[in-house]
Symmetry: C2
Subunit: 143 residues, 2 copies
Amino acid sequence: MISNSSKYAVKAVLYLAVNSSEDHKILAKDISTPTNIPKAYLSKVLQELSRHNIVSSVRGPGGGFYLSKENIKTPLMKIIQVMDGDNRLTSCMLSLQECDAEHPCPMHDLVGNTKVNFVKNLEENTVGDLVKDIKAGKSFLPL
Amino acid sequence: MISNSSKYAVKAVLYLAVNSSEDHKILAKDISTPTNIPKAYLSKVLQELSRHNIVSSVRGPGGGFYLSKENIKTPLMKIIQVMDGDNRLTSCMLSLQECDAEHPCPMHDLVGNTKVNFVKNLEENTVGDLVKDIKAGKSFLPL
DNA sequence: AGATTAAAAGACATTTTTATCCTTTATATG
DNA sequence: CATATAAAGGATAAAAATGTCTTTTAATCT
Ligand code: FES
Ligand code: FES
């Protein structure tokens, strides 16, 4: 549904959102361990996220990763777009040029609305919104 | 969302459902051309589908692929399970052991119901059901 | 039986995704 | 300034997905 890289990205960003702040930065290896993401691979993911201003990073002693106030407003969709490209979730299930209710493929109605809703949710909900749920005990961060 | 192999499988099965019958079998290459699926790869997909009784095949002169009355009753979900395994669509987006509303991951609510609905639709709708829509002009087979 | 047809099966090649390792650059601190 | 720290970047490796090619088996027809 989403790539491993996207999963890693979301898990890492949420971990940072819950545990880090500008004056409590976290090292890649200290995200790797609790989230069960391979260190070296996670570093690449964080690099990419940093390049797209989804996470913030500082090098050197006392450095690490954290989420700025701006970062926390990132819509979930952006993370997935950066990792998986624009159309993994929006493209037609059977590879028609466009996924379009006017000219639907045979699978369109099986997934159509649900897919659109999902994408809408990803666009409307930010990292901060998910953190609210976690802090309210409504959802749980996986190991 | 689903693999290329699954897309190919669904497209090929639908093509057979619309165009073939027990006394009008179709060669792999004659599915390949109209569906734009590479011949050799499609053959592998059809082989796998045949092994799981999703399509029927006969070798030798006058042979080819077709869908039996039984084949047409195949739920869409079975095709995707055979090609992509059991849990590509049902597993947790963030790789929790189970995707469970009782212990949801932070993304669960963004996708939860919609994913469940999609899987339900795939389980409830058969190849024959989709063909009905195609024949009624409600949906269109991609090239 | 022999020849031809077409799927089944096996071997192999390419590409993409996932993963690891090593070097370089930026930052902080003594 | 020298040194340590930690991310950034580059190179490489392993695994999985995708794609191709060749040989084998089963069916049909002369
Ligand atoms: S047209 Fe194919 S999924 Fe929408
Ligand atoms: S628990 Fe993660 S998607 Fe359902």
